[in-house]
């Protein structure tokens, strides 16, 4: 059981380049999340999804897009990367509300935009 897997683990982008971060979970969870964490800070919610085909904005959605075409995958896209998007990105998944709702996190993607 792999849990939550993020791809890639590290990436360096040039300003203006685009990329997609992949989050995959094998626990059949309904909810999935993308967060960013800047040095010494907490996690800030970018976008989330409560089920296949649905997405919603979080606290800091600008500059990011997401898609949840398959239940097990949640993709985070940066269309035109900016240095302000240099951060560590974490993905998480959890079962639907109303049952045990422990969230499981990936190990993070360290993104540097130069």
């Amino acid at each position: 059981n792999a849990g939550v897997t993020q791809t890639p683990k590290f990436r360096v982008l040039k300003t203006g380049q685009s990329m997609t971060l992949l989050c995959a979970q094998d626990m059949n969870h309904e909810y999935m999340y993308w967060y960013r964490q800047d040095p010494g800070m907490g996690l800030r919610l970018i976008h989330y999804s409560v089920g296949e085909g649905t997405t919603a904005k979080g606290e800091v959605p600008d500059g990011y897009n997401v898609s949840r075409l398959k239940k097990q995958n949640f993709l985070l896209g940066l269309e035109s990367a900016a240095p302000s998007q240099t951060s560590v990105y974490f993905c998480a998944s959890r079962p639907r509300r109303g049952v045990l709702t422990e969230a499981f996190f990936g190990q993070g993607t360290r993104l540097t935009v130069v």
Binding site: V4, Y31, Y33, Y35, M41, G42, L43, L45, Y48, V50, A56, G58, E59, V88, F90, A92, R94, R97, G98, L100, T101, E102, A103, F104, F105, G106, Q107, G108
Partner: protein, 108 residues
Amino acid sequence: SQQGEEDPQALSIQEGENATMNCSYKTSINNLQWYRQNSGRGLVHLILIRSNEREKHSGRLRVTLDTSKKSSSLLITASRAADTASYFCATDLNDMRFGAGTRLTVKP
């Protein structure tokens, strides 16, 4: 607005002492959860307390919940250097959000 706000922001104690961290939230909840993050790693779930519970124990962890005050506390007893980490609380709402966390340092 944050769903969970931890206090204090940083806490430094000696090994063997107890560490207490607090969390405040703003909305009604079904449960509240505490997570731990070792430096640069993903968060790991520690303990969940349901809204109809007032106190819960797990090993050296003790969590309390006061729904009337919308607050929770996490107590780590007999702390160890390995407890050094950041600790976060989160509510069970759809848009699961975290506060800035409490950075705990346990000195050997």
